[in-house]
Symmetry: C2
Subunit: 148 residues, 2 copies
């Protein structure tokens, strides 16, 4: 059971890269090369982030993408929601049997509690925080020459 799919995974890394490069445009191609992710796949994903106003773009030579929002305001939950939909433990809608009255269903109760925990746990993690951690660990520059 994987929690993050490729879209979210790549999006996090792409945003980290853009965050490390704030203030200037960076092309999809260079992000893809630097991060070792498939170019076209990345492009589609960036357009989604664009549509949601997390990043801005500029066409043509020297064009590319740039981070728009404060990295500390970009939570991983937000990315999960964009690419994988809202976190929900189970569909569990209008289930007739086990739960006599849905309003008081303990299963539902327990499930929603867990949903909350998962949600809030992911909310603690922002692009800004990750970048800070990375830079603290790797030195001031986002390393792109990683050997394993």
């Amino acid at each position: 059971m994987k929690v993050l799919n490729k879209n979210t995974d790549y999006a996090i890394r792409a945003l980290l890269t853009l965050a490390a490069n704030r203030g200037s445009y960076m092309s999809a191609k260079s992000i893809a090369t630097q991060q070792g992710m498939p170019y076209q796949f990345l492009r589609r994903l960036l357009q989604e982030l664009l549509k949601r106003n997390l990043i801005v773009s500029k066409g043509g030579v020297q064009g590319g993408f740039m981070l728009e929002r404060d990295p500390h305001g970009i939570r991983v939950t937000e990315l999960i929601e964009i690419f994988q939909g809202k976190v929900q433990v189970s569909e569990c809608m209008f289930r007739k049997q086990i739960c006599g009255n849905r309003a008081h269903c303990v299963l539902r109760h327990e499930i929603m509690r867990i949903e909350q925990v998962v949600q809030s746990e992911f909310e603690k993690v922002t692009i800004g925080k990750l970048l800070g951690d990375l830079q603290a660990a790797n030195g001031p520059k986002l390393t792109t020459t990683g050997n394993q």
Copy 2:
């Protein structure tokens, strides 16, 4: 993003039903009818639980399935693991770029922390606990006549 798939979902409910009926065999058919889940689908899933020794079975007339283990020892995590594989936030294996040295990768670190939380949160929930809660809410018998 759904955390539990149908297999896990149904498995929880089936085990709850069996837990409420401990000591005697209950046929797949009656579980399916009572819980409103597809018969063949349920059967496959029960066979998996059988293989894992969570339940026992008896063929023939008056046969069926019976809970083997203590309901309080059956954790939801275990069921997730059986039907959806181990909880892992992201594949995140041998990723070359961003993480200069994998051993100290903060992303990985953060990801594993969350994995832990999710894992431990689900571990708190056992079939026994759920059944207890249900019975406290619905009266001593697992209600099968739920209206809504």
